[in-house]
């Protein structure tokens, strides 16, 4: 600390050059926006793929001329081949889970708002932060190249679903879709793991070390708790996937046998008979599933926890009421995160795993329902007695609660070992996880976008466009995913390129068409959202610094915030994050930075300060 001088207030001058400012920026806000842009591009790709999948399922055998041009291998003459469909399944899942549901909530909004909400000027390690984005970006380029790669032996991208079960994914000769595309898939995921780990390191260190004065842990907004827990989950689960990915890559390219057992006979070749299929022995396919799901289940919570955080935050703000049971909410987040590490086996009830372990996993799985239900009750409790303002952000947050219940509750069916017997790998599962981890998380992000947009760009998004977007999307996703449950009950299997082969699926045709039409409409409505985003950046109504009368630190600074967030004056925090409707206060919200004012009735003073978890004023 020797030789330091007292510097002026504005110490951190923003970089001047375009490249340092917008491309290789060290500013967490720019990096956050970069992540969001990446997710917006990725979700467009993923959505287009789901559109193609629905077209193929509803109108099999149709010629779509443009596809023939884009994918001469996968859709010759514009007609999708089954392997092309499966490749779309794989890419859709991988892109959505990794590059949308993991990047936007955490890398995007987390990066932008975690430092501001805890009163820090930046992340702890800005260079690492920049690296984590660019590493993730490279991962995205690699995964995109996977689908366009048409090698000599393979006409389509990887086939394996986002789970990439070995030995299908480990055997180069197991048919189209196991060529170079699969290697690129593994490489992309490995790169993504590294990027996420860098991010997680940054999030945890920042949160634990860079909170401003007065920002005790229990005064943090619930969003921060969610991002923190997510970072811990990522830190502990991504290394396992990375390790598994290395083993899978070695199995494919170095002739090892971690996931490949002996004596395989694949597409006319016996393992070890000649060079085209080297000898494999002693591996275990189930091992891949254990490693994958050890990562995969926490990954589900990585996707949804930030959405839960944003929802709690936004519900309190627009209900003009403190979050109901702040402390319980924090414990519930932790309980979900912790239990998330002990339930991976529920993906594997019928995999050949010991039936006794299956029973244990089943009971642990259903106990995750408890903290999830606690969160739901607390959201309803937050709305109870509120003065709800129906902004678009609030609509999406309420939509999140509705969809989280709708999607999460069927986990009680799937988590039971016996009920998994008919349900496993049917559309019931597809419906369940799309609603809860896909759509609900995305609703959380929509809510976050409409909510924080004024802070990020100093302008509002169009509320009228936003509301149209909400209504159609909300009704649309119900129409898409609720019928899928009944499809699954009839027995429609996932990952089928066509349903034409089976008599017992024929009765489902009207539902298949309904889902496809609803999906097409819902996807088209998203154009409105993209338009609204871009238009509002330039033409939106100008927003003040605290347009929503909110209480947390991000609303104390300018919109958009200056390079070092608080223009050199770090805020000091005096109270909990959701002090709305405090009796006796001049406004119906009290900022976290507002110092205690000694008023006449001291009795009122004493209680509201530590805030959270109090039972409110009853006397």
């Amino acid at each position: 600390m020797a030789g330091e001088t007292h510097e002026a207030v504005h110490r951190h001058e923003p970089p001047k050059s375009f490249i340092r400012k917008y491309i290789f920026s060290l500013d967490h806000k720019v990096i956050g926006i970069q992540y969001i842009i990446l997710a917006l591009v990725a979700v467009l790709v993923g959505m287009t793929m789901s559109l193609l999948m629905r077209l193929n399922l509803s109108w099999p055998g149709t010629n779509w001329p443009i596809l023939g041009t884009l994918f001469p291998g996968g859709a010759p003459d514009g007609m999708m081949t089954p392997e092309f469909y499966l490749s779309l399944v794989t890419m859709h899942g991988t892109i959505m889970v990794f590059f949308v549901l993991t990047t936007a909530p955490q890398g995007g909004f987390g990066n932008y708002f975690l430092p501001i909400q805890i009163g820090a000027e930046d992340m702890a390690f800005p260079v690492l932060n920049m690296l984590s984005f660019w590493v993730t970006f490279v991962g995205f380029i690699v995964i995109l190249s996977a689908i366009f790669y048409s090698g000599a032996e393979s006409t389509v991208g990887p086939i394996g679903g986002w789970t990439g079960y070995a030995p299908l994914s480990a055997l180069k000769n197991a048919g189209p879709g196991q060529g170079l595309g699969m290697d690129l898939w593994i490489i992309s995921i490995a790169i993504f793991c590294v990027g996420s780990l860098l991010g997680a390191l940054n999030f945890i260190t920042t949160l634990l070390n860079m909170r401003t004065r007065g920002m005790s842990l229990m005064r943090m907004p619930l969003t921060c708790w969610a991002w923190f827990t997510t970072a811990v989950l990522a830190l502990l689960s991504f290394p396992v996937l990375l390790g598994a990915g290395i083993l899978l890559f070695l199995d494919r390219n170095a002739g090892t046998s971690f996931f490949i057992p002996g004596g395989l006979y694949v597409t006319g070749l016996l393992s070890g008979v000649d060079d085209r299929f080297p000898l494999h022995t002693g591996g275990s396919p189930i091992l891949w599933q254990h490693l994958f799901w050890f990562f995969g289940h926490p990954e589900v919570y990585i996707a949804i926890l930030p959405g839960m955080g944003a929802t709690s935050h936004i519900l309190a703000t627009f209900a003009r009421k403190p979050v109901f049971g702040y402390r319980a909410m924090v414990f519930a987040i932790f309980a979900i995160g912790l239990l998330g590490f002990f339930v991976w086996g529920h993906h594997m009830f019928i995999s050949g795993m010991s039936p006794y372990s299956a029973m244990t996993f089943s009971i642990l799985t259903l106990s995750i329902g408890v903290p999830s239900a606690v969160k739901t009750f607390n959201w309803l409790g937050t709305l109870w007695g509120g003065r709800i303002r129906f902004t678009t952000a609030m609509l999406f947050a309420i939509g999140f609660v509705s969809l989280f219940v709708a999607g999460g509750i069927t986990g009680l069916v799937l988590g039971q070992t016996s009920l998994d017997l008919p349900m496993h790998d049917t559309y019931f599962v597809t419906a369940h996880f799309h609603l809860v981890m896909g759509v609900a998380s995305i609703f959380g992000m929509f809510a976050a976008t409409y909510f924080w947009f004024p802070k990020m760009f100093g302008r509002f998004m169009s509320e009228s466009l936003g509301k149209v977007h909400f209504w159609i999307t909300f009704i649309g996703v119900y129409l898409i995913f609720v019928p899928m449950h009944t499809m699954g009950m009839v027995g429609m299997p996932r990952r089928f390129a066509q349903f034409t082969e089976y008599e017992f699926l024929s009765s489902l045709h009207p539902l298949v068409m309904l889902v496809s039409v609803a999906a097409i409409v819902t996807i088209l409505v998203q154009i409105l959202f993209y338009f609204n985003l871009v238009w509002s950046i330039f033409k939106g109504q100008k927003a003040p610094d605290n347009p929503w009368d909110a209480t947390t630190l991000e609303w104390t600074t300018a919109s958009p915030p200056p390079h070092d967030n608080f223009a050199g004056h770090l805020p000091v925090v005096y109270r909990g994050p959701y002090e709305f409707a405090v009796p006796g206060a001049p406004n119906d919200f009290v900022m976290q930075t507002e110092p205690e004012v000694v008023e006449q009735p001291i009795a009122v003073e004493g209680e509201g300060t530590s805030g959270n978890g109090d039972e409110g004023r009853k006397h």
Partner: protein, 229 residues
């Protein structure tokens, strides 16, 4: 790799701003937000406390441990398979184990010299650590040659795969530690750097933590390969 390099970065030289207005401390009821920051430091600063760097290194190690836990469990599960053919340990492994144990000792001495204010001694011990580290890497490569001489390659059988896998992935991680040692040797070569003893302590502390962890990790892998066959 980048994780490590970044987190061993010394604290920023920018120092602490006292430019902000003096603000009253928070109400006595609420705990202070950030325990690691000095009392006088309320204007805000990007400088992280030494504790933060140590914490960051622990976080890195948590990730590394998770990965090796995963690989170790793969090893333990596959060792129960019928096709498992135990391979005897290359003798070079004993030498490399000795080298890395010794390197932890020299690094410990380096840290003591630093605390005792003997910069020259510190650099000597550091150099010794580096040499031992390189010797470790070299002996791991020689162990590979030993395996190759016996006709055991990466894909020969499940057990032999793990010899290459464990040493390879551990080696890659260890190279990160070697980069850290080189950094310490060169970054603090000039005497004026010693004016920032805290920064030096932070970076050498982080590198030492990482290095010792790699040592412990190797012992674990070594015992796994030796005992669990």
């Amino acid at each position: 790799m980048a994780t490590r390099v970044g987190s061993t970065r010394p604290a920023k030289k920018q120092g602490i701003s006292r430019g902000g207005p003096k603000v009253p401390g928070p109400n006595g009821k609420g705990p202070r937000g950030n325990g690691s920051r000095g009392e006088e430091d309320d204007g805000g600063s990007r400088r992280l406390s030494p504790k933060a760097y140590r914490l960051a290194m622990w976080i890195v190690l948590a990730a590394v441990v998770m990965m090796f836990a995963a690989l170790s469990s793969v090893y333990i599960i596959l060792s129960a398979s019928n096709d498992w053919q135990p391979v005897s340990l290359p003798r070079m492994f004993f030498f490399s184990t000795g080298a890395i144990l010794a390197s932890s000792w020299t690094l410990h001495n380096a840290r003591s010299s630093l605390k005792g204010g003997r910069p020259k001694r510190y650099r000597q011990w550091l150099a010794a650590t580096l040499v031992l580290g390189l010797a470790f890497v070299a002996s791991q490569l020689l162990a590979w040659r030993e395996l190759v001489a016996e006709g055991l390659y990466l894909s020969s059988n499940p057990h032999s795969s793990f010899f290459y896998l464990f040493t390879g992935i551990h080696g890659v991680h260890l190279l990160g530690g070697i980069v850290g040692l080189l950094y310490l040797l060169f970054r603090f070569r000039k005497p004026e750097r010693w004016l920032d003893p805290e920064g030096l302590d932070v970076s050498s502390g982080a590198v030492a933590l990482y290095w010792h962890a790699m040592d412990v990790l190797w012992i674990w892998l070594f015992l796994l390969l030796l005992v669990w066959r």
